[in-house]
C-alpha cells in the first residue's frame, strides 16, 4: 500500500506537459514535437501512477504512431487538426481497437478485444489527439468511488489517504495529477461530476444524447452520458467540440448539428442564475455550501430556487438504475456470479428483481421532474449546486456525516448529482477550494460546483465556467 503522503497546494502536481491548448499551439509553431510531448507524458505517468493507480493499461505503441503522424504533418507544413499531439486517456469502458474493454470488471476480461474504437475515441483520433491508455473505474460503473476489487483503488492526487471518487476515478485523478491534460469518462448518476469534484478538475456531463455512447460498455441506457475531464475550460471545450456530432449507432444520440463552444467567450450579460436550495442545500455540508456561495458571488447570483422533485428524481434514478443494470447483467450473474465483485453482485441481482410497476412509476416521475425543471428555466438560464456533499472521503470510509445525518459513502457521494442526470440536463463541474474552518489538512481539498443548464445549453455552462476561471474562483492546482 502506498505511503499516506499528503499532496496539497499543488506540491505533487507537476504539469510539465502543459494544457491542450498550449500543446497544440507549440506543436504548430514547431517549438515542441508531438513525440517530445508524449515522452514527457510517459515520464509523468511512470512517476505518478504507482501511487495513484489511475491506469489499467497503457497504449504507448499506438501513441507513438499517432504522435509520429502529427509530427510528419507539421514537418511538411500541412494543416494540423484541432487536438494535434494532445495526450489523453479514457475510462476503460470505452472500446479501444485491439484491446479488451474491461469496464472495471473481471467478468469482462475474457471477452474478445474491441474491433474498433468507440465513436468518440475515433473522433479524438481524427482530431489529432494521442491516446496513452485506459483508466481505472468502479466495477461496471456501479458506484461513486473507485475502490475496484479486481484492479485496485484509485487514490486522490491531493491526498493519497483519500479516494478519487467514481465511477470515473482514474479519469479524474489522471488529469488532477497532471499526467494528461484531458481524459474521457462516463456519467450515469454522477460519475464524471463526483470524481471531478473530489480531484479538483473540470468535468463536463453534456445533455443526455449530445455525445454518442456507441462503442462504450453500457450500464443504464436511460442515464448513460459520456464526457471529458480537463485542467482548464479551454481544454474541456476543445475536446467536447472534437467529439460532437450525431451518430445513428446510438439510439439515444440526438441528431443535432454541431454547436461548437471552444471559441466562445465568458457569459454574456443578463444571464439569470439561480442557486438551488431545498434538497441541494440540505445535503451539502458547510464546505460544499461555502463552495456554492463562492461561485454564486463570482457570478453575481443571489436568487434561490428549488427543484421540488429532486428527492423523487434521485429515488427514481436509483430504481431505474437497479432495474436496467440488473437486467443487463442477469445472464452472467446466473452463470458467473463469483466473478463479480462482492460490492456489486448482490446489488445487481436485487435490481433485476425490481417489480415493473416501480420502474414505470420511476420513469413517470422522471418526466414530471423534467417538466418542473423546464419551468425553472423560464426564470433562470443556469442553476448552481454542489457536485458532491463533502470533500473526498478517506479510502474505505463507510459512512458520510452530512449535517448530522449518516449516509453510506458509496451511495451518498452522488446524492446531489443523481437528480440532475435523471433528467438529462447539461452540467459543467468546476473545481473550487473553499478552505473554511476545517481541520488544517482539509483546507487544501477541492470540492466541485455544478453549473447546470437547460437542455443543449452547454455553451452557457462552459461560459459560466470561463467566468469563474478568469475570476480565479475555479482552477486546477499547479497551473502552468
Amino acid at each position: 500500500m502506498a505511503a499516506a503522503v499528503r499532496i496539497g497546494s499543488g506540491a505533487g502536481v507537476s504539469p510539465v506537459i502543459g494544457s491542450a491548448a498550449d500543446i497544440v499551439r507549440e506543436i504548430a509553431k514547431g517549438a515542441r514535437s508531438a513525440a517530445s510531448v508524449l515522452a514527457e507524458t510517459k515520464a509523468q505517468i511512470h512517476a505518478r501512477n504507482p501511487d495513484l493507480n489511475c491506469f489499467t493499461a497503457t497504449t504507448f505503441e499506438r501513441a507513438e504512431r499517432e504522435a509520429a503522424a502529427i509530427d510528419a504533418l507539421q514537418a511538411r507544413g500541412a494543416p494540423l487538426p484541432p487536438l494535434a499531439g494532445v495526450p489523453y486517456a479514457v475510462k476503460n469502458l470505452f472500446d479501444i481497437e485491439g484491446m479488451v474493454t474491461l469496464a472495471g470488471a473481471k467478468v469482462n476480461a475474457s471477452n474478445a478485444p474491441a474491433a474498433a474504437d468507440a465513436t468518440i475515441v475515433a473522433r479524438m483520433r481524427r482530431a489529432g489527439a494521442v491516446l496513452v491508455g485506459a483508466l481505472n473505474m468502479e466495477e461496471l460503473a456501479y458506484g461513486f468511488v473507485t475502490e475496484n476489487p479486481h484492479y485496485g483503488t484509485t487514490r486522490n492526487p491531493h491526498d493519497l489517504t483519500r479516494g478519487a471518487g467514481g465511477s470515473s476515478g482514474g479519469s479524474a485523478a489522471a488529469v488532477g495529477a497532471g499526467m494528461v491534460p484531458i481524459s474521457l469518462g462516463s456519467d450515469t448518476s454522477g460519475s464524471i461530476r463526483v470524481p471531478a469534484s473530489l480531484c479538483g478538475v473540470f468535468g463536463l456531463k453534456p445533455t443526455y444524447g449530445r455525445l454518442p455512447r456507441s462503442g462504450t460498455f453500457p450500464f443504464v441506457n436511460s442515464f448513460d452520458h459520456v464526457g471529458p475531464f480537463g485542467r482548464s475550460v479551454s481544454d474541456l471545450a476543445l475536446s467536447y467540440d472534437a467529439m460532437q456530432g450525431p451518430d445513428r449507432l446510438d439510439p439515444a444520440c440526438a441528431q443535432r448539428p454541431l454547436e461548437p463552444v471552444a471559441t466562445a467567450s465568458a457569459l454574456p450579460p443578463g444571464i439569470r442564475i439561480g442557486i438551488l436550495g431545498g434538497w441541494f442545500h440540505e445535503w451539502a455540508d458547510p464546505t460544499a455550501r461555502r463552495a456554492v456561495q463562492l461561485v454564486a458571488g463570482a457570478l453575481g447570483a443571489t436568487d434561490w430556487t428549488e427543484l421540488k422533485g429532486a428527492e423523487a428524481a434521485r429515488a427514481a434514478a436509483y430504481i431505474i438504475t437497479g432495474a436496467e443494470g440488473g437486467a443487463l447483467h442477469r445472464p452472467r450473474l446466473i452463470e458467473r456470479y463469483e466473478e463479480f465483485g462482492p460490492a456489486s453482485r448482490a446489488r445487481l441481482v436485487a435490481g433485476s428483481l425490481i417489480p415493473a410497476s416501480w420502474v414505470v412509476q420511476a420513469q413517470r416521475i422522471r418526466q414530471q421532474v423534467y417538466r418542473e425543471a423546464m419551468e425553472l428555466f423560464e426564470n433562470f438560464d443556469l442553476l448552481l449546486a454542489a457536485a458532491a456533499p463533502v470533500v473526498a472521503p478517506r479510502v474505505g470510509q463507510e459512512t458520510l456525516v452530512i449535517n448530522n445525518r449518516n449516509i453510506p459513502t458509496k451511495a451518498g457521494l452522488g446524492v446531489l448529482t443523481q437528480p440532475i442526470s435523471c433528467i438529462g440536463l447539461p452540467v459543467c463541474t468546476v473545481p473550487v477550494w473553499p478552505g473554511i474552518d476545517e481541520p488544517p489538512h482539509e483546507k487544501e481539498l477541492p470540492i466541485g460546483v455544478q453549473l447546470i443548464g437547460a437542455p443543449w445549453r452547454e455553451d452557457l455552462c462552459l461560459g459560466a465556467a470561463r467566468t469563474l476561471e478568469q475570476a480565479g474562483v475555479a482552477y486546477c492546482v499547479g497551473q502552468p
Binding site: 423523487a312 436509483y318 437497479g322 442477469r330 448482490a346 441481482v349 436485487a350 413517470r364 423534467y370
Partner: protein
C-alpha cells in the same frame, strides 16, 4: 433468519430468484435480501410520489 412466510419481502425475493433462474446458497440469498430491502426503502419515495393519472413515462423509443 426468519421464516420467509413471516417476511413478505424475503418471500418475494426467493420467489423472484427462482422465477428468474438464479440458484444461490442461503448466505448469498441473505445478501440479496438485504440489498432488495434497501431498494424497497427507496421505492417508498417513488411509489408514494403523487402523479396525475395520465402522466406518461419518459419517452425512450423514437421510430
Amino acid at each position: 433468519m426468519t421464516q420467509s412466510s413471516d417476511n413478505p419481502l424475503e418471500a418475494y425475493v426467493r420467489a423472484a430468484l427462482a422465477l428468474q433462474g438464479y440458484r444461490f446458497d442461503e448466505r448469498q440469498i441473505a445478501e440479496i435480501v438485504e440489498q432488495f430491502s434497501r431498494l424497497e426503502t427507496i421505492a417508498h419515495t417513488v411509489m408514494q410520489w403523487p402523479l396525475p393519472f395520465a402522466s406518461e413515462a419518459a419517452p425512450v423509443f423514437r421510430p
